[in-house]
Amino acid sequence: MIGIIHDYWRAYLYTDGYTMTGVAMTLWLLTAALVIGFCIALPLAIARNSRNPIVWVPVWIFVFVFTGTPLYAQLLIIYTGVYSLSIVQHTHFLNEFFRQGIDCTILAFGLNTGAYTTAIFAGAIRDTAFGEVEAARSLGMSNVTLYRRVIIPAALRRALPAYSNEVILMLHSTTLAFTATVPDILKIANDANAATYESFSAFGLAAILYLCISFTLIFLFRRAERHFLAFLRP
């Protein structure tokens, strides 16, 4: 255990001397995926609640496909499948983008968490009390103002507990990153394991690091819930 910490602590935390690895890489993957996921989920969740089938059906299909297939398969398709298409290889921008394992990983993770977040947000928007909408309308709010001032803020608050689960699940999903050669915490644990064969220590350290990140995230979400959902407390 001491030997692994002595030899690998930097790789576990932030770098192997050449590239970003370990906790830093895992957090970067998580943050990038969540930002992408949030940015696509918000408009898609609104579109999902549209009455026009041309608007909501594509969103429904997107959510259905990305929540109905394993993230591992999505990552493999984006990493190996997409890059083998000749149109990708011959378009300069696409080639540069998909060449890097980390780009593919962030894209796959972002789309995946985006789909789950869309489902969460869409449900929260659907749960908006009819009276709130009616009250807003009676004040002469336009659709945009209605969404901006009433529906979205309330829906995001209601979605917070479910969203925090999704964030923790996404953290756990980042362990798939090595499939696309991205050196996250688990890859370093594998390295330490392969070099020393002290499996319990190597993976135990990784588990402790994931636990620390989980606890921090849970703590932050607790604080956020107390702040934003204060009106629900007895």
């Binding site: 190996t80 083998s84 060449r99 394992g101 090595f178 594998n190 070099a195 064969y197 499996s199």
Partner: protein, 272 residues
Amino acid sequence: MKKILAAGALAAVLLGLGGTLPAQAKAFTEIKFGVDATYPPFESLSPSGQFQGFDIDLGRAICAYLKVKCVFVSQTFDSIIPALQARKFDAILSSMSKTPARAKAIDFSSQMYDEPTSLIAKKGSGITGSVDSLKGKTVGVEAGTIQETYANTYWKPKGVHVVSYPGQDQVYSDLLAGRLDASLQDSVEADYGFLQTPKGKDYAEVATIKSDRHDDPKDVLGSYVAIGVRKNEPELLAKIDKAIAGIRADGTYKKIEAKYFNFDVYNDQANH
């Protein structure tokens, strides 16, 4: 922990003494081999999911010689030694080279065969085995292999991008896709598993690397390929050694070798 070990050792001694007990006889009705089946022609899975390859045939011959049942268990290479320690199987049969670092964790049988490491790249890419030709290029290796350690030890500090993959098949698929400029692996595996297949026709072996410092504890490439067993099981090791000598002597080895290779893969004089 010590107590458990002591108790285990005591139990092993007792079992060993009671040689005629049925329990002892039962313990050797089968050998479970751990295999990373992404490494043709040594070990791979057939389209119908059967284990196949040179190692697999050798394993079956060893079992037949010892008159025991053969069981093969799939395991990725980078966790194959921990899985052996965790008793998921009895021995590692996966084209594993004996290196000083590995020999600290497990015991190795006598030589099964021997082959150098090779670097392959696209024909006309200008890549040779020299570090200068590789500077700034991307080289793929399978995680947990001696080639990964070699590339990380000798090439990475000099500006070569070394990328590790979970399996050798993914190294080739990225070499084909163009993400990698070269890949480093066993020479025979590269030849039979990739270069001789239709997909490998535009690629060639540009260098072979062989360690000549077997006394050096930092000898990452190691000596020969052998079967690995847990440290505290000399009986199993002795049986496997006896079987390897046996199939070498009775011509079974030559027969299996001829099925896969047109050269002497055992490579008698390469080491020592």
